[in-house]
Symmetry: C2
Subunit: 312 residues, 2 copies
């Protein structure tokens, strides 16, 4: 894991229990220190993180794209950070709205010395991470790591040791770090499976690239194939502004939504499953995580083009 | 699960994430209500529960066998309960000290209307539970349920809805209950494996008994075989008073502790593993959970008798 993501030694790698959503509370319990918690709101998951953090300290919304229907990631230059936040929280891939952060903000350049906390649940291990800009990263296992029931936390060691007194011991990052993620009985099978996935990632090759860099190249190719299909179509459209489009989760809509049911049943007939969009946004969503090969995206694109022709 | 343990409909069955130890904090976050939390201290695990609960409200030790080296469960008649506790906590099987509660206390008969909270992690599904005496029961999966990473919580529905405001949503029992244990992505594989174990338990037979009752009969036979061997020996001894002896975890000591290493290596040579006692108590410990057949205990007893003969 450390090698795969080039995680520097000044970071601890923790395997926490529970899904990533629990971390929305566990992060402020550990890093909040009673100070202001700054949030960038770019979709459903950052909204949920904000609501959960409000239990543990004053919060401040530094930027939000809610008024624009979460069609982009607010650019860092526009963030209105508070004076001395305990940390700044950013969800770097919004699974439901299909918004991804492609360049991590440099908080220091913005005049802010607080650590950046990123929720990278739904694109972890799909691309490299610029650790020089991160204080803490957390991600549920269930997308690109392994079976559900495990959360990866990568935290700069100097941020440990400041948990609120109400933080449960099993969720105190310092306690977990000191016990090598075995303060309590760890989810052994999930960790074992994650190890197999890490081995698989290490073996991946694309030209001269290997490991996560190879996966990134493949993920770029997959996303380009699908977005090109959508953008060239007169039936399908994606509402996310191009610089913020996610490589992992591609939500799209049929301009004639009365065709949704026909589209989904035709897809199912070809073995293309789980394409219905999240109930909160509707439409369609193609989740093309690391485990999805280029051929799978090609099969979807072929179907989308065939379906569009039948509607002409 | 409901059928296996005859859980009445006034209880919700929750699958929580994380090991049982996290529940030491999650229970007071949900049931504490800021009132006094009464604890019976009968070994390491109830001590840990007490320390964790102290973060969330005033605590009171109603009884403790610490001065006697945790050699018995303090009898309910001797408990000094506080006036109006939010709940009374009891660890019904102390894994490390080998102390088990064989008859749940009737708090009402003791003049206390608070719910009884039991940590049944290490003997869950090894015997029936008298639910008329229980408000909440919690148990980590890793002993008799399935792979680590899952905690079973059985809670009377009328106790839900009173969580402290600082309780994380993912650990709020009411939220988890309302979402059928899927508020966040659940540990799917652990739940699947637990289901297979439940099926296995349902198929067990001992004479006319089936399911958990059959396992209880088998566990009684296993424990009797081992304790009889210990009690008849002049080399081995068990320090727990007979009425409190655990059927699941049998700690024992060699009267001549200089033989410990020879005992363990001889055991290993026969494929008898994991017999070294917990570092906090020393000696030996045989954990004879549901998965251990009578033949396994017989093999241990045969070895113990052979080893004793070689020392004569």
């Amino acid at each position: 894991m450390r090698t795969l993501l080039n995680i520097p030694n000044e970071f601890d790698i923790l395997f926490m229990q529970g899904g990533g959503i629990a971390e929305n509370a566990i992060v402020p319990l550990n890093l909040g220190r009673g100070g202001t918690l700054d949030f960038v709101i770019s979709g459903s998951w950052s909204e949920k993180s904000l609501r959960e953090a409000q239990r543990y300290g004053p919060t401040h919304v530094a930027a939000s794209s809610q008024a624009q229907g979460f069609d982009h990631l607010p650019p860092a230059a526009d963030w209105q950070l508070s004076a001395h936040p305990s940390y700044v929280h950013l969800c770097t891939n919004e699974t439901i709205h299909g918004v991804e952060c492609h360049t991590l903000p440099d908080l220091k350049a913005l005049g802010c010395d607080a650590p950046l906390v990123i929720d990278f649940s739904s694109h972890v291990l799909s691309r490299p991470v610029d650790w020089s800009r991160v204080g803490l990263a957390y991600g549920g296992a269930q997308k690109n790591i392994g079976p559900a029931g495990l959360t990866l936390v990568v935290v700069r060691k100097d941020l440990l040791g400041h948990a609120l007194p109400i933080c449960p011991s099993a969720f105190n990052y310092q306690t977990v770090a000191q016990n090598n993620s075995m303060f309590n009985t760890p989810p052994t099978y999930s960790i074992y499976m994650a190890g197999l996935i890490f081995d698989w990632i290490a073996r991946q090759r694309e030209g001269d690239l290997h490991g996560v860099a190879a996966l990134e190249a493949r993920n770029q190719a997959k996303a380009t194939l699908l977005y090109d299909c959508i953008d060239r179509s007169s039936l399908y459209h994606n509402r996310v502004q191009e610089p913020s489009r996610s490589r992992m989760n591609v939500p799209f809509f049929l301009r004639d939504e009365s065709l949704n049911t026909a589209f989904l049943s035709g897809a199912q007939a070809r073995g293309l499953l789980q394409l219905k969009g999240h109930k909160s946004v509707g439409g369609m969503r193609a989740s093309i995580y690391n485990a999805m090969p280029l051929a799978g995206v090609q099969a979807l694109v072929d179907y989308m083009q065939d379906f569009e022709k039948t509607q002409a």
